[in-house]
Symmetry: C3
Subunit: 140 residues, 3 copies
């Protein structure tokens, strides 16, 4: 059985943000609860934002990851030709593919089987990305 | 139910290429149609090419992504020891892992639930990569 | 049907390591065998190690990928603020997100449908990462 729900995230500023609770809450509200046993897939329907899994505790990890990412894919590279949507646009597309557009997590005993220190991150790669739409799929 | 089909892509030149229609067409031809509700997984059986999701509209995104990728993982790095398959080979392996070997997309109402501006990209990272084999899995 | 098993890997030194056989052996030992038809998902429950798919033959690919990765995300970047867990910690978080925390592979005729030259890699990004826990999920 596969159930899909949609989740419109609140607007986040550029950077990495933990959204594990947003996802879990949407599942409880729209599905009642997670199955005892299954798989959770989260997909972001945008090409200038990403989903990844990383440390859920110290916020400095998100700050450093954002700083690294901006250095890795800087704005205003002289060779960019996709420039008319703003300086932050082409780097945002690059970051979206580097980090990826979905994550998959096992569901065991009705809970996401994340490690103790893991959380799901939204990578908001635009300065004013607006609300982002996710499709959450629960397979069981 | 899980159905697997194989798709041999035509040869693409080095760079990023939209293959959403190749995938959809293979599903229609080999499966009749997509299920109303399910998941699509696409896997590339090669370690010097990749699959990712990014913008489906302006071709300049693919051009800039390829330029960025070549700068990120350049050829003839003095420390490379895996060199006997050509200058483009080790960078191609690096790019394959950075972008990944599969994508998963929800299927809702018989259609891929991609965002309006999203398409599936083949990342062809070799100069003469030849035909690439994909395994498409439809779960419902 | 979805079956989850857990696999605690032996300790690996920092770098990339092929773990395809560890995964296959765990499936045989804990599930009896792989289904004829299905999907395999492998998830790493840590945010300083990664899973990716790359060449299974020449070990020089793993050596070069590790060298590239250390150059891409170097230690002791002056802007890092997440530094109290050691010089290798923040780069390890970065690498975990760049390469990803899970891989999905189709199962066809009771075998992983990897390409001839593909294997599953553990990316151990810490100097002393210890044993890493994987959740292996088989969907059929």
């Amino acid at each position: 059985m596969i159930a899909h729900i949609t989740l419109t995230l609140p607007q986040f500023r550029r950077g990495f943000h933990i959204i594990t609770e947003h996802i879990e809450r949407a599942c409880v509200e729209q599905l009642g609860q997670l199955p005892l046993n299954g798989m959770l897939h989260v997909f972001i329907q945008h090409s200038s934002a990403s989903l990844t899994i990383n440390e859920n505790a110290d916020p400095s990890v998100r700050v450093d990851l954002e700083a690294f990412t901006n250095k890795l894919a800087p704005e205003r590279e002289p060779y960019f030709i996709h420039t008319y949507e703003g300086d932050d646009d082409m780097p945002a597309h690059i970051k979206a593919s580097l980090y990826g557009s979905s994550v998959t997590v096992p569901i065991i005993n009705g809970r996401l089987a994340l490690g103790t220190w893991q959380g799901v991150y939204l990578g908001e790669h635009r300065d004013h990305g607006g609300s982002r739409n996710l499709v959450i799929s629960v397979v069981n």
